[in-house]
């Protein structure tokens, strides 16, 4: 009985291997992996082109790809796209740095001190669930439209996942590691710096990564309030002038730059966490 099950199981397993096994196949597989991600976008692009060629969708609702591409080139040539991009990136950069420092610090504090957790965590949970939009009117009345407001809004949003993940990472460290510190007579500070923080580092980096994503997402909302330099500003301007093609350029830029930022972060993370076992 078990023999037949085993045979069937092996047969099933083999079914999943799609490519035959001979030399030279490795590079073909790599090539496939490199191109597969582009299939879907290309199909969408094709559909888009088709839709505008056949006039299925009105020009005002969705401009043709060629128009968008031309606008893209124009924006690069005139340096406008770069200018807006730099404005946005600086804003995100500053906000992210502030959020990281404050967030990690506060997260560690909450994770270590049970008392602090009991007093502060509930309020923090309510704060964490408050959409950043809600702070805009307050910010407007306090700061008016300004760079400070934009950076503050992004920080407010980005700091949440950073604190959350850092706090959880520190709080739930394996007792096994803490006991090692105890066995070797570590002081409280030694335990924190030599054991707690390194052990929590994967969680901290996870939080920072989410924080970066949040910052990039909040950027547009922060800029929509009326900043004059930035991708969000570009969108507002284009919308007012009914230039949907420019809006689309902005959207695509947001997506790609966001993706690049994320991938760069993962590279940095890998460098710091090289000691982690490569899990699933």
């Amino acid at each position: 009985m078990s023999e037949t099950l085993k045979q069937e199981y092996q047969r099933d397993t083999l079914k999943r291997v799609k490519l035959p096994n001979f030399a030279g196949i490795f590079s073909i597989k790599k090539l496939m992996n490199l191109t597969i991600p582009f299939i879907f976008p290309l199909v969408l692009l094709g559909l888009w082109q088709l839709a505008s060629d056949k006039g299925w969708i009105a020009e005002q609702i969705l401009p043709a790809p060629a128009v968008v591409y031309q606008s893209f080139l124009d924006l690069i040539d005139s340096g406008v796209l770069l200018e807006h991009l730099i404005g946005s990136l600086t804003r995100v950069g500053i906000a992210f740095v502030i959020a990281s420092i404050l967030g990690v610090g506060l997260g560690i504090f909450l994770g270590i001190s049970r008392r602090a957790e009991a007093y502060i965590a509930p309020l923090f949970e309510v704060y964490a669930q408050t959409p950043v939009i809600a702070w805009i009117p307050i910010g407007l009345l306090l700061f008016g439209i300004s760079e400070k407001l934009a950076v503050a809004l992004i920080t407010i949003a980005a700091i949440v996942p950073i604190i959350m993940n850092t706090y959880k990472g520190v709080r739930y460290i394996s007792k096994n590691y803490l006991e090692i510190g105890n066995v070797y007579a570590f002081t409280r500070w030694q335990t924190i710096f030599l054991i707690v923080i390194p052990a929590a580092l994967p969680s901290i980096f996870n939080g920072l990564r989410y924080g970066l994503t949040q910052a990039w997402l909040t950027l547009v909302a922060a800029e929509l309030v009326g900043i004059d330099r930035g991708i969000g500003a570009m969108i507002v301007e284009a919308r007012n002038l009914f230039q949907l093609d420019i809006v689309l350029v902005a959207i695509i830029t947001l997506g790609i730059v966001g993706l690049v930022l994320d991938k760069l972060f993962v590279l940095v993370e890998r460098r710091f966490l090289h000691w982690q076992r490569r899990g699933l």
Partner: protein, 260 residues
């Protein structure tokens, strides 16, 4: 030193309230000391009074109802799309490879950037708002569901295969239960982002009633007390939505060892 579990639960809520109460006291003291401009920092009582007014004239209830309705409709659509697509991508490795990179890029685009597009495509009223909410919340749900399905220990799947389960049985009995923790992680994010989307939609597509509209009104009339009350209600509602989800989660995942 062990804290008696019974006592601990009596302890906890009170300690959580201390800090906010202290903040409110400080706030009121600053107001009374006239340090800040009263336009920017109204009295705590003024805010409470605004609250009373809104409750009395029914505006609060109307706004809450409208916002929650929008939120839940958008969230339901997002959950339906997100979970089903997430499972589909997770089960079929090929589909995952084809579609996921694009979704990972799209998720980097702030829904706020899509407002112009959405307003041209859906108009300025409810449909646009709901679309905005869906766009805000679908990706976290989708991606976490996908990761939950993909990340299942292959051991469990092999058990199913050994007993010759059909794909559907495999899905129901093994994959979904094992992926549920991840799915709930996605749902938590979904609840958060849908609430964010709701308030955002009300802020930027201003036609209609909603909690977001309350703070827009406050901003337009420069009434900080109204704004603050609105923020308070928005924050508490978001928090309660999340707690509601956690409660449902605890019931469903009772088999997991809970880390407290």
């Amino acid at each position: 030193m062990t804290v008696n579990k019974q006592n601990y639960f009596v302890y906890l809520p009170w300690r959580g309230i201390v800090f906010p109460v202290i903040l409110i006291l400080i706030w009121q003291l600053i107001y009374l000391a006239k340090i800040a401009n009263p336009v920017f920092l109204p009295s705590v009582f003024a805010v409470i009074e605004q609250g009373h007014r809104l409750i009395d004239n029914g505006q609060l209830w109307e706004g809450l109802k409208a916002s929650l309705y929008r939120d839940l409709v958008g969230l339901s659509i997002a959950i339906f799309l997100g979970v089903s697509i997430g499972i589909a991508l997770g089960v079929s490795r090929l589909a995952g490879k084809v579609f996921l990179p694009t979704f990972n890029t799209i998720k980097q685009v702030s829904p706020f950037a899509l407002i112009p597009l959405l307003s041209f495509w859906f108009g300025l009223h409810e449909p646009a708002k709901i679309a905005f909410i869906v766009v805000s919340s679908v990706f976290p749900i989708m991606i976490n569901t996908y990761e939950g399905v993909r990340g299942i220990a292959f051991d469990y799947v092999e058990v199913g295969r050994v007993y010759k389960m059909t794909t559907f049985q495999l899905l129901r009995k093994i994959i979904l239960p094992a992926a549920t923790p991840s799915i709930f992680r996605g749902l938590h994010l979904g609840v958060f982002f849908s609430w964010l989307g709701t308030v955002g939609a009300e802020y930027f597509f201003t036609a209609g009633a909603g909690l977001g509209n309350i703070i827009v009104d406050g901003r337009n009339s420069s009434r900080m007390d109204l704004v603050l009350f609105g923020v308070f209600v928005i924050g508490i509602t978001g928090y309660l939505l999340n707690i509601g989800l956690s409660y449902a989660e605890k019931r469903l995942l009772h088999w997991q060892i809970q880390k407290q």
